[in-house]
Symmetry: C2
Subunit: 203 residues, 2 copies
Amino acid sequence: MASPAKRVTSRNSSTDKRAAILRAATRVFAGNGYFNSKVADIARAADVADGTVYLYFKSKEEILHSIFDQNMAEAIAAARKLIKDVSDPREKLRRIASLHLQRLGADRDLAVVFQVELRGSTKFMEEFSAAGFAEYLGLLHDIFEEGQRAGVFRKDLNATIGAKILFGALDEMATNWIISHRNYKLEPMADVVMDVFLNGVSD
Amino acid sequence: MASPAKRVTSRNSSTDKRAAILRAATRVFAGNGYFNSKVADIARAADVADGTVYLYFKSKEEILHSIFDQNMAEAIAAARKLIKDVSDPREKLRRIASLHLQRLGADRDLAVVFQVELRGSTKFMEEFSAAGFAEYLGLLHDIFEEGQRAGVFRKDLNATIGAKILFGALDEMATNWIISHRNYKLEPMADVVMDVFLNGVSD
DNA sequence: GCGTCTACTGAGTGATGATTCATTCATTCC
DNA sequence: GGAATGAATGAATCATCACTCAGTAGACGC
């Protein structure tokens, strides 16, 4: 009770509001698609006025960017942490794949935004690609190369292509999970994919 | 010279106009994205008046649908024809993969529409999925199953998942080819992907 | 209590762009 | 020659939103 509760509340509400708008936007974008979502819808879903949205974000587009940036940064940080103490490249890839599908599987709205909405324009794709996607693919690439040097992965396969194959397979699992409305768990698919992949690329 | 030349010209121009609009729309959508493309842009690119577009298509959305439907139907027909006389399931998959990347690699605008624009909304995804995508995945699935019965593919892998892994890997090759503006050929990637995939799923 | 500050509000504005439809034009047929 | 047909036109309509900004409310220091 040392610090003024009011101050804290105010500060928190400020942060909370930004977060609330992002969460609301994720829900709204997932439900109607980015282009069909009105800023007013997001405001209503976040329980703020239309204008308030613009106190936290420059534009509708920036909201989408922020959703991506924030989650991608989190995901990459989590991935790096997860493999910190692992030495076997195969195990590293297994853990990342699992994390990948676990994160998307845990939040369908977020998954829709990542798998569907963010793909909907070359402009976005290129911008986002430059930032986070490339870094993620780079992470897979580096581990793959490490595995090649260690002699556990075939050396006659370009590491960049190896990374893309793995990413593509996981990506398709996620996209299909969204489209098919059946209720299966996404995360366990990672093991199956890794099984085929590792079997396919092992030396 | 038996039939009146005028009649034929008229008929052709009618068909041509529809085709011209579709071609123009593919170019315009690829350039600006579906939602940022104005019907007026398409009309200008096709060299017709705005209103003419509506003589051939009910709406802007129907244009996008038509691009998908037409190309998907063509692609599936071509794929079936290509594997008609092949008996080895591995070779069937090889040929389809090659066709897949060859078709997209041959027309960058079409590839952009397929890889980017068509993915941009769950609504589209689900509609399209119901139609062509599912059929294509089904084709891969059936061949995979056939290979399992023939004893060339592992039986401990669900055929649907096998099909998705392959599709996802090819899909990522295509998407990456579009985003990276480097000038490499897309089709040859099919062999590399198939190499890893077949190695990963062989019995 | 009073002035100040800051977060917030939501009605209004201006631009945009899909679609329509009255009109023009070319072709065909008698 | 001239009616009839229907393809093609493109200016006008009208709904739709992203974004702005003048104003409100409430917290805080004094």
